[in-house]
Amino acid sequence: MVSEKKQTALDIINAYQGPKIRIMEVCGTHTHEIFRQGIRNILPPQVDVISGPGCPVCVTPVGYIDEAVWLALQQGVTICTFGDLVRVPGTKMSLADARSQGAKIEVVYSPLDAYDYAKKHPAEAVVFLAVGFETTTPPSCLAVLQAKQDKLTNFSLLVANKTMPMAYEAMKNNADVFLYPGHVDAVMGTKDCENMLKEGVSGVVTGFTAKELLTAFAVILTLFPKGKPFFRNCYPRVVKPEGSPAAQKLIKKVMQPCATEWRGLGIIPQSGLELRDEYAAFDARKKYNVPKMQGRANPACRCGEILQGTCKPPQCPLFGKVCTPEHPVGACMVSHEGACSAYYLYGGNVR
């Protein structure tokens, strides 16, 4: 008896003879890692990898930038923000432009750093730009709790946090299989993916190393041709079925679901988060009576379609010509997790 040689993930991928398949990554870091590791180059031609709405900066609508610019210039607040929001164009200007007009913009790594900044600078009114998915929401909630406990009155949040499940719903016809975001599931568990499976939508959740990504593709390419919907957790060293109950509890204590606007996808009910009434004192929109802002993006920019996976960056007339990482027109080129920035950076690998 000859013992069979163990098949590697790469063997499985190389041997794929199955039907055409569209795999959507729903995480900006997956987009970049798949490019950076050259995985697109080794996938068989009938395997199409498309980027979904998983970059938090990219899905933040233009009107949100306008609100932040208004707060900075009209109200004179200090804006604390993740760095990649600074250069996202608003209707008239970005936060970087506002800074050149005298606005105070501080780049922070964590909402907790914004809270520390507010504590150390009691004379400044500090607004933290709370964007992000389930991964970045818990520290924003913790910052609010700490601020309430410390009776910090110069700290508030401009909240645009989003949650993934309704976005999966909105995207489910644009792909055959989802590559679910590993760290969202580390927080939320695999319940939402299981629910998608009940609707007949396939997916795997995976991590970010070459081994994890190749294994995830091997799993997809093995199970997809069998024709039966599937879900597999390919990241069990970080993702537990129940996720992080402590993080879920923290989010629920401070925030509640609301309808929110996604760039490209429009307003999706129950897909956003807002502060609960008991934390209204930390809601920058209420504190400063922020007027409603209908942002307007550059009409030629196709970020909206790119975020839905219906257009690839090189198909946008601006891509690589007037829209580059140095002079971004759309959010997907600004953020290091954006699809346009990945295509631009790893342009030689484009397919």
């Binding site: 870091t29 907790l112 964007v131 991964t135 913790l142 590993g182 991590g207 953020s335």
Partner: protein, 69 residues
């Protein structure tokens, strides 16, 4: 912004953990994790440890491929 950093826990005190992410050291919140000890590996997002890392990717992916057969 939304980038997970794997990091090794060096010290745990008062709900905070000093972590080492490939040489970069900083304090992160450990409020979400019970029973965190020095030497554990955690996934850090925006200054907060969101999950413990319980294995390396080689053992994990070997198991997954094994299950496929």
């Amino acid at each position: 912004m939304c980038v997970g950093l794997p990091a090794r826990v060096m010290k745990v005190q008062d709900g905070m953990a000093l972590v080492d992410a490939s040489g970069a050291k900083r304090q992160v919140s450990a409020a979400l994790l019970d029973e965190l000890d020095p030497g554990d590996y955690v996934m850090v997002h925006a200054g907060m440890a969101i999950a413990k890392i319980t294995d390396d990717d080689t053992a994990e992916t070997d198991d997954i491929l094994e299950d496929l057969n």
